[in-house]
């Protein structure tokens, strides 16, 4: 399973089916939480994840498609769009250091 150190993350992708709903909300929240870090946050449809993504977060229901779309990239699935502990761990690892497994 791939992993990355929080300090090495530069591009965080929030993947969604249509890229018009929940991923937009989560991306805007993450952008606020990661303000002041070198990490850029983007939201994209799950089938067009950019090649330079360091970490992908997506709903568990889309994890399979995200994995197929971006093999080898750290993938963090979540259940809850706002306040999911898995996403909180990513933010903490980026801000305070730590390994993100995916």
């Amino acid at each position: 399973m791939p992993s990355i150190e929080g300090k090495d993350v530069r591009k965080l992708i929030v993947a969604c089916d249509a890229g018009m709903g929940s991923s937009v909300m989560l991306a805007s929240t993450l952008r606020k939480q990661l303000k002041g870090t070198p990490v850029s946050v983007e939201h994209t449809p799950v089938n067009s994840i950019p090649g330079d993504a360091d970490v992908i977060v997506c709903h568990t229901g889309l994890a399979g498609r995200a994995r197929a779309s971006a093999p080898g990239v750290v993938l963090v699935p979540f259940q809850v769009f706002i306040g999911d502990p898995a996403v909180t761990r990513v933010v903490t690892a980026i801000k305070n250091g730590g390994t993100i497994d995916g």
Partner: protein, 155 residues
Amino acid sequence: MADRAGTAPLPLDPRAVRTAATAADVEDAIRQCGAVLQEVGAVDGSYIEAMLERERSISTYVGEGVAIPHGTLTSKEAVRHDAICVLRFPEGVDWHGEHVTVCVGIAARGDGHLRLLAELAQILLDPDRAAALRAATEADQVIQLLQPDGEEDSE
């Protein structure tokens, strides 16, 4: 922030806010959201089926009694312009086991809706404001709550 391709930040259309709706179930609630989006000229009727299809694949429940039904990637063809509607169901809707009282229906082909959604995300992180949204009985209150704060750097 970037307003690409002529998709200016979207004001919430008062005609798209309903504070006293009732729905029998999830499908009924989504059909009503789709109907409002159609009434304000944002979507074709086919978009409603796409909203139901999207809901079947993954619930659009986002927490704090709020769901955000919207279409699929392919259904963007059925969207004429970006729009958001807010339907409040004071009696609640059983949303796959969650109790939903506010539906924010989304139609988007550009980025016009991003600031409203960013503001909604902030509301969901603030229990007091989320409670205020659930309790809002007037369209003006809903519009006020979803007023972007002006510092969102959405892209």
